[in-house]
């Protein structure tokens, strides 16, 4: 039971009276990578944001690390244990790469400056950000570098779970690789991750399970081979055919 890191039960979210999430439920074990696929507007971002309480769900249960986090008063400590990687990186633009990573260690984890610096440098090295980039500001870095700094910022906090919200959607094709590569290495190191992405190739390689979200409902979930290559649901099949066309996998029918 302990190795169930996250249990989401019957999660509902309404925005302006409109149901955005409609009874979403799933579980994730420690060390697993889960990929969420689905069309834009499906509620994928909202789901991730509910999990780290950037958005408060209206109904349902989220058990994280054995605790019901929706009942908790101290949402900040919950968030500090869950990393979040944004589509547009969201680095602090007035801080260098190194300062971006040190910031949470000092302000949230209350580490000394020296300790934080050592740890931050380790995290940056782990995502392949080398020394000559540490003192650069976000605006001086490429998108791929910025996203890797953002991953280092999340990693340095030693989260139990990292949520990725379309981490490569704002990147040029060449830079997508360097970010996916870092994420794949994280997955191999048994970091628990939930990844919203359109990169079905990455999902095929890395995901332990794939979920397809549409209109706030999980239409299908299962092994990547099954959901991506042989979906049962008609809607999922149509989506996957188009994805396979875009990413040149197999010979999908084009509708």
């Amino acid at each position: 039971m302990r190795d169930k890191l996250l249990i989401v039960e019957d999660l509902w979210k309404f925005i302006d009276g409109k149901p955005i999430l409609r009874g979403v439920a799933f579980e994730i074990n420690e060390g697993e990578t889960k990929v969420i696929l689905g069309p834009s507007g499906a509620g994928k971002s909202t789901l991730l944001r509910c999990i780290n309480l950037l958005v408060m769900p209206d109904k349902g249960k989220i058990i994280f690390d054995g605790e019901d986090i929706l009942g908790k008063r101290d949402i900040h400590s919950v968030r500090s244990k869950i990393g979040f990687v944004f589509q547009h990186f969201n680095l602090f633009s007035h801080m260098t790469a190194l300062e971006n990573v040190m910031f949470g260690l000092i302000k949230v984890k209350k580490m000394s400056k020296n300790e934080a610096e050592k740890k931050a440098k380790g995290a940056l090295a782990a995502v392949g950000i080398t020394e000559e980039l540490w003192d650069k500001y976000p605006a001086q870095l490429s998108g791929g570098q910025q996203q890797r700094v953002a991953i280092a910022r999340a990693l340095a906090m030693e989260p139990k779970l990292i949520l990725f919200d379309e981490p490569t959607s704002a990147l040029d094709p060449e830079l997508i690789w360097e970010v996916l590569n870092v994420m794949e290495r994280l997955a191999k190191a048994r970091m628990t991750m939930i990844v919203v992405t359109h990169e079905i190739g990455f999902a095929m390689r890395v995901a332990d399970e794939v979920m397809f979200l549409d209109n706030g409902v999980i239409l299908e979930k299962g092994a990547p081979e099954q959901v991506i290559l042989n979906p049962r649901n008609e809607r999922v099949k149509r989506f996957m055919d188009r994805m396979k066309y875009v990413y040149s996998i197999g010979k999908g029918n084009v509708y």
Partner: protein
Amino acid sequence: MISELLYIISKYGPLLLEGLKTTFIITLISYFIGFVGGISIAITRTFLHKALKVFAHIYVELFRGTPMLVQLFFVYYALPEMGIRFDPILSSIIAIGLNSAAYQSEYIRSALSSIPYAEIEAAYSIGLTRFGAMLYIALPQAVRIAIPTLTNEAIYLFKYSSIAYFVTAPELMYMGKLVATQTFLYVEVYTVLAIIYVIFSIVLSGIARYIEKKLQIPGYIV
């Protein structure tokens, strides 16, 4: 004309310098009060609870909606009736500082609202509180953005601190008036004053541009 100007400077220079010193004291301290007050009001109106927000809003409207001179007279002439008495310089500092806080709060508030919410959210995502995100992420960037307007405010205060003359604070304008009535060289004296005000306004903008450059974030185009 030139010889009269030189005469004023050589004979009354020390007196005018004394006045300039007082002008600087009033300007600097009231600007500082305005800056700290402005930041507090801006934070209150952007991040804090309803009741405080309304209070801060009323403050701003009150101080922006009435002439600074009325505020100064209120502090210097009306407050003593309620048993609160300040000397002319302190009255000026208080009135100008409180007035400037209202304006500076608006400059900082509009800069705060231009900070991308994405960065605030990123701060939340690593466990920062609302206050922490505001203090370490929003505010440092907002102050940078507001520097040009905050500078204007400093130059504005430097010139408008001359209203302290009306409550007999011995600042530059007051000293100038003294010299003028003694020498009857009105044109020359006020020309000297104008030159002093212009020179130091230019110096102030130079300092501000230097600070702006220093604080600029590399690669970041506002």
